[in-house]
């Protein structure tokens, strides 16, 4: 779902980036009000989980791949606005350091995965939790609600990405009528994006969300915004449990390499040219960012080792960033009277 460089016109990227500015401002304000300073490093840990989840590529029928995002999971644990910030930072890291998702398309990627996904997911989750039957198992209801919400949310995000891809050939063509950017119109891009996400990627998102949420509720109950009143001992036990889960995910990350091929809409410009029979001018001659570790590859190292090291670097950077944000940010949380 990461829209690469030059698949969207600069004007589309500009509009979506401008739309994200008030979202980021509001999200920052809400995070200051609702997330205490000592929970900010945990938000970094959650962002790292999302980063790792996005590295687990799953094969989709048709030769493409998809991945989970875990946006609904972060929204459930820390609130939807905190999820927006966490996912935006994770996406920025992926774009700058690993070249996954375009720098120009950063606003569009954030709109889909850091705004639409957690907001829709959290909205459905809270709606389902309000409607749960009295006497039903609390944990089971929560996991069912989280699974449904995450499945619908990732499809909503995929639909947005499909629309953004699909309007490009309708709006931006050269004199010969050829597309300048993404060459696939709405009636191709929307079904293509949704086909993968309604089946495999949606299921992966639901499995990741439900699995990690069940683990958190059992092994690390004070992880997340609800664990404010936890004792130091509980908090340290939760941190240890989450660190163990993160290490396990990092070790398992090379499984994401088993899925061959690119995700839909993330092909190299040459592949697009070969598929449509012409080279879209904006796509093949646009500006490209030289990432430090392109495609999570370390050159001389084997792919699996590069993938693990990329996971380590990404997770560590996200934890560091959120710890620094916690140190520098002003605390505005109202704890009320005791």
């Amino acid at each position: 779902m990461h829209i690469p460089e030059n698949y969207l016109s600069p004007s589309t990227c500009g509009v979506l980036a401008a739309a994200m500015v008030p979202v980021w401002v509001h999200a920052t304000r809400r995070v200051r009000e609702t997330v205490p300073k000592n929970k900010m490093p945990l938000l970094g840990l959650a962002a790292a989980f999302s980063f790792l989840a996005m590295m687990f590529n799953v094969p989709i029928p048709g030769g493409t791949t998809g991945h989970a995002v875990c946006g609904t999971l972060i929204a459930i644990l820390f609130g939807p606005w905190a999820a927006t910030i966490a996912l935006s930072v994770a996406l920025a890291l992926q774009a700058i350091l690993f070249g996954d998702g375009g720098i120009l398309a950063f606003g569009a990627n954030c709109f889909n995965m850091a705004f639409i996904l957690p907001q829709v997911g959290y909205g459905i989750y809270t709606w389902l939790m309000h409607r749960k039957k009295k006497g039903a198992s609390s944990l089971r209801s929560e996991l069912v609600a989280a699974g449904i919400a995450s499945y619908v949310a990732i499809n909503a995000a995929a639909l947005c990405a499909g629309i953004e891809f699909g309007i490009q050939p309708l709006l931006f063509t050269d004199a010969a009528g050829n597309a300048l950017y993404c060459p696939y119109p709405l009636w191709v891009s929307v079904p293509a994006m949704l086909a993968g996400h309604l089946t495999v990627a949606g299921a992966a998102e639901a499995i990741f969300t439900v699995g990690i949420l069940a683990y958190v509720r059992k092994a690390a109950p004070s992880f997340g915004i609800e664990g404010l009143g936890a004792t130091d001992k509980d908090a340290s036990r939760s941190s240890r449990a989450m660190a163990a889960l993160m290490c396990a995910l990092i070790v398992l990350v090379p499984l994401g390499l088993l899925a061959e091929g690119d995700a839909w809409g993330e092909w190299a410009p040459e592949d697009v040219s070969a598929a449509v029979g012409y080279a879209p001018r904006g796509l093949s001659s646009g500006w490209m960012w030289e990432a430090l570790i392109p495609d999570y590859s370390f050159g001389a190292l084997p792919d699996w080792a590069g993938y693990v090291l990329s996971a380590v670097i990404g997770a560590a950077v996200l934890v560091i960033v959120f710890r620094l944000l916690a140190a520098g940010g002003k605390q505005k949380v109202d704890f009320g009277t005791r």
Partner: protein
């Protein structure tokens, strides 16, 4: 009687005069600056790297590992090895306490930005990759040095110098100097604080008092040196510097030594030697 009581109730003249004393504004920026500088040095000397845990290496092993990583990182011509070191440094940095993390990151990022600025001509001439390599190498080297310095108490760090067969007298001198800097810094801070508190209103002799602060610190230093010398003589000091137990080899050191061997192997493989 009533008149006498009335007179007695009257307040004396001197008590009725309006006394609204407002001390004249005075400049004491040099005291503030001196206090800030001394406090800054003392804060830097304070250990801020968190408590050691079961897998922490002993100080000599940490020092050797740090130096090895910096030397290998500098010699590496392969960017992949630099990125491997970057991953290790970032993970360790993420586990540092808040203040240590900020200091480590500020110093390393500052050094990397400076080196990138120095490499600006190379970037303009189309050699951006070499500038990136140098910048990353500087970031990694400074990070490793800072991590070793911040996560090890100074006393252990100087003791670890024995691993490099540094003469005992040199280690002892460094130890004594560091301890004296801390003690005398505290004294200087107290004297400056008292000078600031006693200077109510305009105090024209404040400037000359700075010499007094230096004098007090010098006298304290002399006294401290004599006390230390007497204590050493009383305890029969013969020039042997005994390594504290905390510097002894720990079981976790074997793991770190294995990690160092893996690092060397990775270096040789990536450089094409193996």
């Amino acid at each position: 009687m009533a008149r006498d009581r009335e007179e007695a109730r009257e307040l004396p003249e001197w008590l009725l005069t309006d006394e609204r004393y407002e001390p004249a504004a005075d400049r004491d920026s040099f005291i503030r600056k001196s206090m800030k500088a001394v406090a800054g040095v003392l804060a830097r000397l304070r250990f801020d790297g968190g408590r050691p845990w079961a897998l922490s290496p002993s100080a000599p092993v940490k020092l050797v590992l740090g130096l090895l990583a910096i030397i290998l990182g500098s010699c590496a011509t392969n960017f992949a090895f630099t990125l491997l070191l970057l991953a290790v440094a970032l993970v360790r940095m993420a586990l540092l306490p808040q203040k240590a993390l900020s200091r480590c990151l500020k110093t390393s990022a500052g050094a990397a930005i400076l080196s990138a600025l120095l490499m600006l001509p190379a970037i303009l001439l189309g050699q951006a990759s070499s500038a990136l390599l140098i910048g990353t190498k500087v970031f990694v080297s400074v990070s490793i040095a800072m991590i070793v310095a911040l996560s090890t108490p100074l006393s252990e760090l100087t003791g670890a110098l024995r691993a490099f067969h540094v003469p005992n007298v040199f280690i002892l001198t460094v130890e004594l100097a560091l301890k004296s800097i801390y003690d005398l810094g505290q004294t200087a801070l107290e004297v400056l604080g008292s000078l600031k508190m006693r200077s109510v209103g305009r105090n024209h002799e404040k400037g000359s008092a700075l010499g007094g602060v230096g004098g007090v610190v010098l006298l304290k230093a002399q006294r401290a040196a004599k006390t230390t010398s007497d204590a050493m003589r009383c305890r029969g000091f013969e020039g042997d510097y005994i390594v504290p137990d905390t510097l002894a080899f720990r079981p976790a050191d074997a793991l770190w030594a294995a990690g160092a061997i893996l690092l060397v192997v990775a270096f040789l493989v990536l450089e094409g030697v193996l």
